[in-house]
């Protein structure tokens, strides 16, 4: 469980990092918090020839709000979100999710951008990005481009990023101050990746749900929205029965894969339960 040989580069400037990435192409790998990459190098599942450590680059770890977005620099560490980084429901949602990302030592090193780039379908940040349809900003010597979540996550551990691109920030739309947010996940032990996770945002106007978003983690190659469950909710009065119906719809929307932590049937069961619980929790506080 020792990594294969690699060359280590530690640029101090963003431009320098981008030019190294352009130079090494497929052979290179970005090292952020290392909490996913280093274990996979030790298992020799990843064998990058060149490791480009971006931890020494200043200014890419900020978290700021614009009028309509929360802008998260790629190196912002998970731990930073344990307390709300912004007022209102978004900060609260991120805090609920942050506490479920691994264990504290992992949260101290692991980064928001690293999690998105790693694209584990069970990762909390990937699910939140999908839930809110976040925008990812990719930089390279060729310039900058914006990629929405639905185009960003391709499949398990795979994104729209090109080998020479660095994910520099993620932009999450701020939520309506009265939005009702829900986040629940099920895992065997504290700190484990979710077997299934569910999250939701509801806007309620005049007693009826005006917009509904539901995202699910660990039920496919990427985090998924559930259009069927969202349709069930849309325009209706929130109630236990409605949420249960939405849970049923969400369960019907997914084709989860199985592994030793949960068979497809069990995961589908959990989708039903957790979707309902996420919605319920969102209207209880």
């Amino acid at each position: 469980m020792k990594p294969a040989k690699f060359e280590y580069r530690a640029p101090r400037e963003l431009e320098e990092a981008l030019s190294i990435l352009a130079e090494v192409g497929d052979e290179g790998k970005v090292l952020a918090g290392g909490q996913s990459l280093v274990p996979s190098m030790n298992f020799r599942l990843a064998r990058p020839a060149v490791l480009v450590d971006i931890n020494g680059i200043g200014g890419i770890d900020s978290v700021t709000s614009s009028s309509d977005h929360l802008v998260i620099g790629t190196l912002a560490r998970h731990v930073r979100f344990e307390r709300p980084v912004t007022d209102g429901p978004l900060g609260h949602l991120l805090a609920l999710a942050a506490r479920k990302v691994g264990h504290r030592p992992i949260r101290i090193r692991g980064t928001f951008g690293g999690s998105l780039a790693h694209a584990d379908p069970a990762a909390e940040w990937c699910m939140i990005a999908t839930l809110l349809d976040a925008t990812m900003v990719a930089s390279s010597v060729r310039g900058q481009r914006e990629i929405t979540a639905s185009n960003f996550f391709k499949t398990v551990f795979s994104t729209a990023l090109e080998p020479d691109e660095l994910l520099t920030e993620a932009r999450l739309p701020l939520l309506n101050p009265a939005a009702k947010i829900g986040f629940v996940e099920f895992s065997r032990r504290a700190g484990d990746f979710a077997i299934v996770a569910a999250s939701s945002v509801l806007d309620v106007e005049g007693g009826r749900i005006s917009t509904a978003r539901i995202a699910l983690g660990s039920v496919g190659g990427t985090p998924l929205r559930s259009p069927a469950a969202e349709a069930v909710l849309q325009g209706n009065v929130p109630s236990g029965e409605l949420f249960a119906e939405a849970g049923e719809a969400a369960a019907g929307d997914v084709e989860p894969m199985g592994d030793i932590h949960g068979s497809p049937e069990y995961r589908r069961d959990l989708v039903r339960v957790l979707t309902r619980r996420s919605l319920q929790a969102s209207t209880e506080h």
Partner: protein, 768 residues
């Protein structure tokens, strides 16, 4: 008195400061050995391609090296021979096939990646049920039916008692494959000393003397050419008791190449290749009379022992222990049993904390609860009617139980857990759709097995006795050299306490030396809750001899009668007077003024003593309260209580630590840990993301109360307790889950009760 005090462990300061010395520390700087392991469960080795520039050892190089073949001398046992490195066939995925030596671990792994094993795969035998099916291929050609042990016993009156009994209650218990998973993986550092021609093997082992014998025998060298040292060892739990073929290769290479070389297993290898445990299936029927008294028990015991037999105990230990100790703390006189050790193409099994007793206990405790339901008595009453109450008691298998508190511990646990109050709460919870349950587990733990106890199993190598050599040096300090080998049990502290009391010195003035074949008398190491009993007993006997020597010198010095010598606070005094002499002065005399010793006394202060009792039984009652989430199947433990009796506790703090650790591993068995093979015999759970030991977050607070039986089965009054936590906890948790789900008609008899398994049971019950 030092015995009975909660002294902090002497061992801990260095460990907490990071100053412990483990094999990995010793290995630092030496060449690294990396094993190339079979990627398939079964196959013929066609070729081993060695990359250019690599130093690789294969089975061919080990010409003249013997095989590992542990033996039982019984007709119902078939020996299986394990090559150190296989020449023709591999028998499990993860089996060591070749060893690469390189200057660093990284380079060794680079080369190992490039060694190409050309193996023609054969149909593997995976899992107990497959192995026992009539058309199963044979794992070893000479083992028919894949049963290495197939043992039967029926008492003459069995049928007569069993057939007419009004209540027959059956349970079908499965306990999954587990790993003992010590924090420190296995490893060994073998260093050749050119000046003496000897090799020193520093290894993570629980039994340095046994390992030395094993390696010397396999290599065909005198034991004197090998020194085995167990430095700090980061847990073993049985996994480090048995011989690792990797250690044999390391010693061979150190001799052959006159070098120092270390193999340090990584976590993945620890899962694929280090001894596994449990993987047992029991089908048991109890015949009860109208009063709920168990009159006869029928048991079919099946243990999947994997591809080979572990040295020295053999893979018979699981099945034979289950057969002999099935009665547990309960009284019944008629018994019919078949016990099989079944070989499969899986990693070999070695005894893990509790060995078969966690499964025995789960079986009996599930049986008692199911019987109580059927017969219509409470779970407490059924146990009270069947527990052994008079001692000594001889079981149907001829085991003699010494004084214990089976009923008392049950009653006390019921009181402390407030069973009546709980039943009310349970009823109320149910009306709110909340499912909570309480489970009891009453059991005995056979400990301190002596030679006679092991001899009953007909082992070729019969462990048991323990010897202690004790020296008081000229400065008056005591050195105690023991063959037992602590690897986290705190033996240095508890033995010091025992000896301090016997000699009237402070525990800090007693140094325990262990884990080094050059320094300690031949002994069997630490396993089976034996060290406090055996090494403790031998220390006490040695102390008596030391006292006699000191008393003689003191009597001479003080001009008083030997019988009047009294030992306390570092001095010897004449009883009833204040005439005294310091022990350090006596020590000086013994060494430096031996001309003053009375005629016939030998100079110096060295004694040795051996202790070999038959054995004893600790006991306990565990109680667990759980809540089950019907929708997810998740089980949360809300309370966990242990009332246990290990006789006199030498150090209650250490005893509590043993209970905590054991219960944690028992809860792990009940809810979390499972090694899973796919149908091709490849292990799927090869990292800590897939194999899930519980963490602090999953552990409940463990409440402990001790009862103290006064037993004369051991000379210290101490019974062992290392395994009890792991033995009792699974049954308590599984019973609690069944209790919670009884309103739905769920019966769950399988370990671990993962959320998915629990959910499946619930769904099935709700669907019906």
């Amino acid at each position: 008195m030092w015995v009975g005090r909660r002294l902090r462990r002497f061992e801990d300061a260095a460990l907490l400061r990071g100053e412990g010395r483990f094999v990995g520390d010793i290995a630092s700087g030496s060449a690294a050995m990396r094993f190339v392991r079979s990627p398939v469960a079964r196959g013929k080795i066609l070729d081993i391609e060695i990359p250019k520039g690599a130093s690789v050892i294969t089975g061919r190089d080990l010409e003249g090296v013997g095989t590992v073949m542990p033996l039982l001398h019984r007709d119902d046992f078939i020996a299986v021979e394990q090559p150190v490195l296989p020449l023709t066939e591999v028998h499990f995925a993860g089996q060591a096939v070749a060893a690469v030596i390189a200057p660093t671990a990284e380079e060794a792994e680079d080369f190992a990646d490039q060694v190409f094993l050309e193996i023609d795969p054969l149909d593997p035998v995976v899992g107990l049920d497959n192995a026992l099916s009539p058309d199963a291929p044979l794992v070893h050609e000479h083992v028919p039916g894949n049963s290495i042990i197939d043992s039967n016993m029926t008492t003459p009156g069995f049928t007569e008692a069993f057939e007419p009994a009004p209540f027959k209650v059956s349970v079908d218990i499965r306990s999954s494959r587990q790993s003992a998973m010590p924090l420190e993986t296995r490893g060994g550092h073998a260093a050749f000393d050119a000046s003496t021609g000897r090799v020193t093997l520093s290894a993570g082992t629980q039994a340095p003397h046994v390992i030395r014998t094993a390696i010397a025998d396999v290599l065909g060298i005198p034991e004197a050419d090998l020194r085995v040292v167990a430095p700090d060892v980061g847990g073993g739990f049985g996994q480090k008791y048995c011989l690792a073929v990797e250690d044999v290769v390391a010693v061979w290479a150190a001799r052959r190449y006159r070098m120092a070389v270390a193999w340090i297993e990584d976590r993945r290898e620890n899962f694929t290749s280090s001894f596994h445990s449990r993987d047992q299936h029991y089908l048991v029927t109890g015949a009860f009379d109208d009063d709920g008294k168990l009159v006869a028990l029928e048991a079919d015991i099946r243990c999947n022992v994997g591809a080979f037999s572990c040295y020295p105990v053999t893979c018979g230990v699981e099945a034979l222990m289950a057969m002999a100790e099935m009665p547990g703390p309960y009284d019944f006189r008629e018994y019919s049993v078949r016990a099989r050790a079944v070989t499969t193409n899986a990693c070999p099994i070695a005894p893990y904390r509790g060995v078969s007793r966690p499964v025995i206990t789960m079986t009996l405790e599930r049986l008692m609860d199911e019987a109580a339901n059927r017969i219509g008595v409470s779970e407490v009453e059924i146990r009270r009617r069947n527990l052994v109450t008079e001692f000594p008691y001889t079981s149907v298998m001829g085991l003699v139980y010494d004084q214990a508190t089976y009923i008392e511990s049950l009653d006390r646990a019921v009181e402390l857990i407030d069973l009546d109050g709980f039943r009310k709460e349970q009823e109320e919870s149910l009306t709110k759709g909340k499912y909570i349950g309480l489970g009891l587990s009453t059991f005995s733990e056979r400990t301190g097995y002596g030679t006679s106890a092991f001899a009953a199993r007909s082992m070729d190598i019969t462990p048991g006795f323990e010897t202690v050599e004790m020296t008081m040096d000229p400065s008056g300090f005591v050195e105690v050299r023991v063959g037992a080998s602590s690897h986290g049990q705190g033996l240095e502290t508890s033995l010091s306490q025992l000896v301090a009391d016997e000699l009237g010195v402070r525990p800090e003035n007693v140094r325990i030396v262990q884990g080094d074949t050059d320094r300690t008398p031949y002994g069997w190491g630490t396993f089976a809750s034996r060290s406090a009993v055996l090494a403790g007993g031998a220390s006490k006997l040695a102390s008596h001899d030391m006292r006699a020597k000191l008393a003689a010198i003191a009597a001479n010095e003080l001009e008083a009668a030997v019988e009047d010598m009294e030992f306390s606070e570092g001095s010897v005094k004449v009883r009833g007077t204040d005439v005294a002499v310091e022990m350090s002065k006596l020590a000086r005399i013994a060494y430096h003024k031996s001309n003053q010793l009375s005629l016939g006394s030998t100079p110096g202060l060295s004694v040795s003593a051996t202790y070999d009792p038959h054995g004893t039984f600790s006991n306990a009652c565990h109680a667990a309260v759980v809540e089950v989430d019907l929708e997810t199947g998740a089980v949360q433990i809300r309370r966990f209580l242990v009332v246990e009796d290990a006789g006199i506790l030498i150090n209650p703090l250490i005893a509590d630590g043993q209970v905590h650790g054991g219960v944690a591993q028992g809860i792990a068995s009940a809810l979390f840990e499972e090694l899973v093979y796919d149908e091709n015999g490849n292990l799927l759970t090869t990292s800590l993301m897939d194999y899930l030991p519980p963490t602090m977050s999953e552990m409940p607070l463990i409440e402990i109360e001790h009862l103290v039986s006064i037993s004369d089965a051991t000379i210290t009054g101490a019974k062992g307790l290392g395994e009890g936590g792991a033995i009792g906890a699974p049954a308590a948790v599984i019973n609690a889950i069944n209790d919670a789900l009884r309103p739905l008609g769920v019966v769950l008899n399988e370990n671990p009760a993962t959320p998915e398994r629990v959910r499946r049971h619930i769904a099935r019950a709700q669907g019906a």
